[in-house]
């Protein structure tokens, strides 16, 4: 299609969709209403399960199967990225040049790194109590490690990041979620049933299986994000095309 034709089709579609959606909005219940039947039931169920953070109760207990699917999506995406960004034949690894970073930035990165890790672990651990949980904390942990890349050097990051180990942890995290779910079946209840003692409301050990599932997710997410970023970093910094590299070397020699 020519650009003009595409624009016509697009405009017609957008106008149609806009009209439909606007008509639907006018029939929506007014914003901020009090009628939330599922939400109210979920709050009651969460209190009965002694989980202070209802969102975590929904995520890891009431609708834990959704989270299993969600973690599998993340897992699949990381696996897919590893496959898609693999080093192909005709490509070679090079050692990236060290970067020059102002010393203040370097000091900041090294000082904040442990603190950021701590904050990440705190967010994971308090998932069933306060806002946060495995996903959020896991991403913070992974980001914290990459402070070494942005603040120090790629090689510093590589030293704390044996990718194979993180791939293993990724698999273990996903596997742990699946197996914890199966424990419910073995205990004679349903898959992903909350079979552990519920503990005392508003303490770190409350909520039965919620903290365990939460920890499994945290582990998977942290390692998944590390593996994911490792592939992108390797593509941008390490992997070069042999043909292009040869051409470049030739040019350099000519100049010299």
């Amino acid at each position: 299609m020519t650009r003009r034709a595409r624009l016509w089709v697009l405009t017609a579609g957008l106008l149609g969709t806009a009209a439909l959606f606007a008509a639907a909005c006018l029939r929506m219940p007014p914003f901020g209403g009090t009628w939330h039947p599922y939400g109210d039931r979920a709050v009651q169920a969460a209190l009965l399960q002694r989980t202070a953070n209802t969102v975590s109760s929904v995520n890891f207990d009431q609708r834990a199967f959704d989270t299993l699917g969600e973690e599998s999506i993340l897992f699949a995406a990381v696996l897919g990225t590893v496959v898609l960004l693999r080093r192909t034949s005709g490509e070679r690894r090079v050692t990236p040049q060290p970067a020059s970073v102002p010393p203040a930035v370097r000091r900041y990165a090294i000082a904040v790194l442990p603190l950021a890790l701590l904050i990440g672990l705190y967010v994971v651990a308090h998932g069933q109590l306060s806002p946060g949980g495995g996903f959020q904390g896991g991403v913070v942990v992974a980001t914290a490690l990459h402070l070494l890349y942005v603040g120090v050097d790629y090689r510093a990051l590589e030293r704390v990041r044996p990718v194979g180990l993180y791939e293993l942890a990724d698999g273990v995290g996903e596997g742990a979620y699946v197996v914890l779910g199966a424990a419910g079946l073995l205990a004679g209840s349903a898959y992903l049933a909350n079979i552990l003692p519920l503990g005392t409301f508003n303490t770190l050990s409350s909520g039965g299986t919620v903290p365990l599932l939460n920890a499994a997710v945290g582990m998977e997410v942290a390692s998944a994000v590390v593996v994911l970023l490792a592939r992108f970093l390797a593509q941008a910094l390490e992997i070069v095309d042999e043909k292009e590299e040869g051409r470049e070397r030739g040019e350099r020699r000519k100049r010299e």
Binding site: V123, P131, V139, A142, F232, A236
Partner: protein, 86 residues
């Protein structure tokens, strides 16, 4: 009074998000778009907080403030690196 204030915060963040989304679409250069997307992420986190969803705000912050920009910029860098060589 309190409800009016809540509404004002919601409206302000909604407009911020709508503006940031529009700006992100209109910024055609991907590296600069990444900056606007980062602001969209921050705006969304703010909107989620005033909609009383701190859990979602936290995950939006975690994903949108560093990880997504890092992926986008690394991609842009890879794309440009090859462009320069040709």
């Amino acid at each position: 009074m309190r409800e009016a204030l809540d509404d004002a915060l919601v409206v302000a963040s909604l407009l911020f998000v709508a503006a940031a989304a529009t700006a992100a679409v209109l910024t055609r250069d991907p590296a600069r778009q990444a900056v606007v997307l980062s602001l969209l992420g921050l705006g969304l986190a703010l909107l989620f907080t005033v909609l009383q969803a701190p859990d979602v705000a936290l995950s939006q912050l975690a994903v949108g403030s560093a990880v997504t920009p890092l992926m986008i910029l690394l991609t842009v860098r890879e794309v440009r690196r090859r462009k320069r060589r040709e």
